[in-house]
Symmetry: C2
Subunit: 332 residues, 2 copies
Amino acid sequence: MENRQVIIDSLPEKRLMRENFKIVSAEIPPVNEGEVLCRTKLVTIAAGSRAGLQGSASYAGAPQAGVVMNATGICEIEASKSESFKKGDLVICQSGWQDYSKQKASQCKKIIEDIDLHHYLGALGTNGLTAYFGFFQIGDPEPGETVVISAAAGSVGHLVGQFAKLKGCKTIGITGDALKCSQLTNRLGFDKAVSYRSQQFRGKLKEACPEGINIFFDNVGGDVLGTALFRMKEHGRIVCCGAISQYDTNEPSGSPRGIPGLLVNKRIRMEGFLVFDYEKEYSQAREKIKEMIRKSEIDPINDIFNGLERAPEAFVDLLSGGNIGTRIITVN
Amino acid sequence: MENRQVIIDSLPEKRLMRENFKIVSAEIPPVNEGEVLCRTKLVTIAAGSRAGLQGSASYAGAPQAGVVMNATGICEIEASKSESFKKGDLVICQSGWQDYSKQKASQCKKIIEDIDLHHYLGALGTNGLTAYFGFFQIGDPEPGETVVISAAAGSVGHLVGQFAKLKGCKTIGITGDALKCSQLTNRLGFDKAVSYRSQQFRGKLKEACPEGINIFFDNVGGDVLGTALFRMKEHGRIVCCGAISQYDTNEPSGSPRGIPGLLVNKRIRMEGFLVFDYEKEYSQAREKIKEMIRKSEIDPINDIFNGLERAPEAFVDLLSGGNIGTRIITVN
């Protein structure tokens, strides 16, 4: 059996390129007591992983050249030296971009195929839970409020928008091009969509929500955050979920203007969060999201690439804004 | 009877100067039905008023050249055409910097001299209520946490520090000079005090709280906020109360670096507030603060200047950091 691995060959100097990765063939690792051997079926491509590649500390850790690219995956147990799992079980774990990995049994979460498996990496995975806790807990939405989402076509954003509609909010997506704008409004039920690449971005955003913004769910940071900040209503909330605009560069832009003055005058709450802090509530949230999917109240998009070897290109493309929904690689 | 008024003669181009004000003599205004004539006894000098003098919109409104400088005062009713007040009553109202003003009865709040009257402009006034709601409601403190306060010797800051000590927090003040630092630690019970003017400010702050900051109560903004932000602990809270560093200038400095990245990674909440939103809870809060004063649990400092004509110099000096506690002018 071959164990293909996608290795970080070099850290990117500016923008990430396919050439920063290479594919190697490795041994199948031996499994010790309390461990399992996992065969990867599906892995995620997540924008957040880019932050780690800056070599700086981040919640995602700091990957180094020469190691397997980290990622969450759905795996089938190939061999088990743990009482918790038997061959054939399905688990979620940090498989990385490779065919086989050994895992501590305690680091694997068993799942059953009670719904399209891809959802376990999307709406039921870290992305979906991030959207769920960020919007409902940090955003604290009320029906009728105006919600603006940056990177709205992304894995987190496209779900936040759908949660917001379900809650009865007016929902506006900010994304990078006309195609994604039309997907947001036509397919996903957003009320409006605005491209941040438009010359008239500031004016278009104002046009989309002349009443101002109650909740800004921000995945982007930088200038997009700066623009939205100036349109916040009194007692508005900015959910700081990520800063994609600052990841794929070694020259991050400055912080938005008006801090803290605007926060004071408009009584704005700006709050960062990490989904991992809500771990005890995951199961309950997953059940609620599953229910929404089954009732067709939300339509989570899984954007699937076939073949492990395509992971680097899928990642580079994701960082330049090529995806809608959660990008997933079918490995085996 | 003379009615001296301190008028805004010109808006400051850079730093505010005494010459931006002039003193004139005006008529005593006639009082109509539902109004009262107030004789000013005491008025406040408040840093927040400077924001309005930038000509830009702020919660304090936008004063213009040629009008009486706005301020909260304690007044004695001279004449009343309202059933709510009789001659001799004491009220708090927006008297401005002048001997006499007419007020709508509905805009006056009656007080009785149940405690040193100055406290009604200090610990029981807007400053004290700002400290109280900002610290307890926005800061959400727990005993044992580390609280850092900027402009810690100021009217709000010196009370926040005392509330924090009372709550069982480790309390560190940031202020502008050695004299104020020693007042904070020796007189007001702060655990540590650091001057932001020190060359080693960053290092000194770190030394004062190697464990990091749970609550940063910020009255200053700019570089001081930027420095504190990098010392915040996970799940820390930044109470955005004001931005003094940005008031007395027409070239405000940039926003602090690390937003939103740091907010996300450390799950920091940064929240602005205005005390006016808590108006329904004022009475209850005043009773609690009065109790603290009577029990000598806190020691609010009132920094008193005698004579209305000294208001401009007292204000200019306040903006350059000359005061400890609440600055009050004895008018009549």
